[in-house]
């Protein structure tokens, strides 16, 4: 993988009080167990693709485990990493959307506005990570499965692009909770579903502009890289490579 092209310290926010959300994933801890994948489905009302749909490549996963075998038996290894929206600072998906349905907000989130999306799917073509998921049909949940739907997250209609939001509903709730209690959002107060569930504690989430935050500490170590960083997308997800 590429070198880390954007040092964490270069990720700046416009305002001291505005965080810049980022994630770090320690591949040395990650076991590829896919708990994050299911956690994300449960949290974000992601529709289930039937076998027929999955056969057409229409599985909806906001986070997935990319895995590649390396070498041959018996000296075979597998390289794997959870891949989610990298929330790029220079996101290639953003400028190409003709209706501003995707854009970078002040907190560094690469926001997808479902109700604005007309479904050109240009953003998905231009995402080198292929983390964007399209709703090919209106989603359906046979009764009573819909009782599980998270009321904090909209159910996206057909024809609309969606993707990992860093669990923006949790971010908003976390900020409002802090506001109601008249305190600042502390490091670790807000955790996306994947981070919260990760059994090996391989994921860290937080404010990249705060040098003390866990994510900044992790992202700052020597093993830290960015996926396809050479494309100049400036991802805000950092991968801590496996090393002996």
């Amino acid at each position: 993988m590429s070198e880390q092209l954007v040092p964490v310290s270069e990720i700046q926010s416009t305002d001291d009080n505005v965080p810049r959300w980022g994630m770090a994933i320690d591949l040395d801890r990650c076991t590829g167990c896919e708990a994050c994948v299911v956690a994300c489905h449960v949290e974000n009302n992601i529709p289930v693709a039937t076998e027929d749909e999955a056969a057409m490549g229409r599985s909806s996963h906001w986070i997935r485990i990319d895995r590649y075998y390396e070498g041959t038996f018996p000296d075979i290894k597998v390289k794997y990493r959870p891949v989610l929206c990298q929330q790029c600072d220079d996101a290639p998906c953003e400028p190409v959307c003709p209706v501003y349905a995707t854009y970078q907000n002040a907190e560094g989130l690469n926001v997808q506005v479902y109700n604005r999306c007309v479904g050109t799917r240009y953003c998905a073509n231009n995402c080198p990570y292929q983390v964007r998921v399209f709703n090919w049909f209106d989603p359906e949940w046979p009764e009573p499965l819909e009782l599980q739907l998270n009321p904090d997250v909209s159910v996206r209609p057909g024809g609309v692009m969606e993707k990992c939001t860093f669990c923006v509903q949790r971010i908003q709730r976390g900020k409002l909770d802090a506001q109601a209690e008249d305190r600042k959002v502390g490091d670790g107060d807000i955790q996306p579903a994947c981070v919260q569930g990760c059994p090996a504690e391989a994921m860290a989430f937080g404010d990249l502009t705060d040098p003390e935050s866990k994510v900044s500490q992790w992202a700052g170590v020597g093993r830290s890289t960015q996926l396809l960083g050479e494309l100049g997308t400036k991802p805000k997800v950092f991968y801590l490579e496996k090393s002996d």
Partner: protein, 439 residues
């Protein structure tokens, strides 16, 4: 210039008989083929209806090939549209005398190809009923389209182009419309009269028309070049492998002219055959156009070779995945068929003088149309199929919806053309008059 055909003699009279004859009556075969094409169009509309009501998922597009045949067809038809404007404008500006029987046929192709091509970005939308959000209009949400997006440029360019080319088709029609009005009776006459917007054939009007046409020819040329450049930007502005290329704009324009000429030749063949216009669409026209086709064939080869050579030599692994898929992977049959259609067949058939006959010109044109469609396919699909991360690679297979709509658009082209040729003289009579008078 006179307005009454009855007073004419010789070639002036004959052109009127020949060109205006097809406008009269409806033969069985005309009706039968019109019905056939209409059925295909209705079927395509049904398919589109299914897509709107059931969801875009009824099409075969999928992750990671989010753009499929719709965009292929879009680029293809916009390319075809370059037949008219570009060719007729170039010939008009260079005052090539042999152009005169050809221009209207070419300009009509442009308008219809644009109408069809312009539909595809809409057909392809996930929520087509919200397409107007791409149009800048004041609204209380204070939301505007994103002018940084090549799709917005595209829309602007295509709107401009279609407006321009309709005007460009219409202007030289005006004198003929006036003549048609005088030659027909009843409501038809009134309609032609209305469409001829008060044309009397005065010197002042002729002068204005000449100026307007010169101006339009110059402008439409610029617009046509920019339109296909902008279409190419849809691809080259993104960072997808083998899309992100600096030569795409001229490459697309050249390809568009290439396919446009082929389409024009084919249409001329059809007119010659079905409307008995052999006296006007003479072998010299076909030979001249075939030379242009041969030239564009070489230009296409040059661009295509440059594109593939640089990628291959650069050996950048993400791009090489797409390159390999095209050249010796799953898309190789399409690729080599494209090379055969776009280069080998026209180059051999048209490049060797002995082989160049009306028949081989027609064969070459068909080959080029197939080849150029494949070229668009090979630009759109393999790149998406082989994106940067191999874990996300995936194939594409068009569904019946896309195929129906694709077939329907070809039928629509034929249908539009049939109707146009039934209502308007397909050869500019007054230009022919000028030609005959001059000679």
């Amino acid at each position: 210039m006179t307005t009454l055909a009855t007073t004419l003699n010789g070639p002036h009279r004959r052109v009127r008989e020949d060109v205006l004859h097809p406008l009269e009556g409806l033969s069985f075969w005309y009706l039968a083929s019109a019905a056939f094409f209409s059925a295909l169009v209705v079927w395509a509309l049904f398919a589109w209806g299914c897509q709107i009501f059931l969801g875009i998922g009824v099409a075969g597009i999928r992750r990671p090939v989010f753009w499929g045949l719709y965009i292929v067809n879009f680029v293809f038809w916009i390319g075809i549209s370059h037949a008219g404007t570009l060719i007729s404008a170039i010939l008009r500006l260079t005052d090539a005398g042999w152009r005169k029987p050809v221009t209207r046929a070419a300009e009509a192709i442009t308008v219809f190809a644009l109408m069809i091509g312009g539909m595809f970005p809409l057909i392809h939308l996930g929520r087509v009923w919200l397409f107007y959000w791409l149009i800048p209009y004041p609204n209380d949400r204070l939301l505007w389209p994103n002018f940084r997006s090549p799709l917005v440029w595209d829309m602007t360019a295509i709107f401009t182009y279609i407006t321009g080319s309709v005007l460009y088709l219409y202007l030289p029609l005006i004198p003929d419309l006036a003549e048609m009005a005088s030659r027909s009776q009843g409501w038809k006459s009134r309609v032609y009269r209305l469409l001829s917007i008060g044309w009397t054939g005065s010197d002042r009007q002729w002068h204005s028309l000449e100026r307007a046409m010169k101006l339009m020819a110059a402008m439409i040329l610029a617009v046509a070049v920019s339109v296909h450049s902008v279409v190419s930007y849809d691809f080259s502005m993104s960072i997808a492998p083998m899309w992100h290329s600096t030569i795409f704009a001229p490459y697309f324009v050249a390809g568009a002219i290439f396919s446009g000429i082929a389409a024009l030749i084919l249409v001329m063949f059809a007119l010659r055959k079905f409307l008995n216009l052999g006296r006007y669409l003479r072998p010299v026209h076909f030979h001249n156009l075939s030379k242009l086709l041969l030239l564009m064939c070489l230009v296409w080869l040059y661009f295509s070779a440059s594109e593939h050579l640089t990628v291959w030599y650069g050996n950048e692994h993400i791009e090489m995945a797409v390159f390999n898929a095209r050249v010796h992977g799953e898309y190789a049959p399409y690729f080599w068929l494209m090379v055969a259609c776009n280069f080998l067949i026209p180059f051999i058939l048209l490049g060797i003088r002995r082989l160049r006959t009306l028949g081989t010109i027609a064969v070459s044109s068909v080959a080029v149309l197939i080849g150029m469609w494949l070229e668009r396919f090979l630009i759109v699909i393999p790149t998406l199929s082989y994106s940067a991360l191999p874990a996300a690679w995936g194939p594409y297979e068009a569904s019946w919806v896309e195929l129906s709509i694709t077939a329907g658009t070809f039928a629509a082209m034929a249908l539009f053309y049939m109707i146009f040729a039934k209502i308007f003289p397909i050869i500019a009579i007054w230009e022919y008059d000028e030609d005959v008078s001059a000679s």
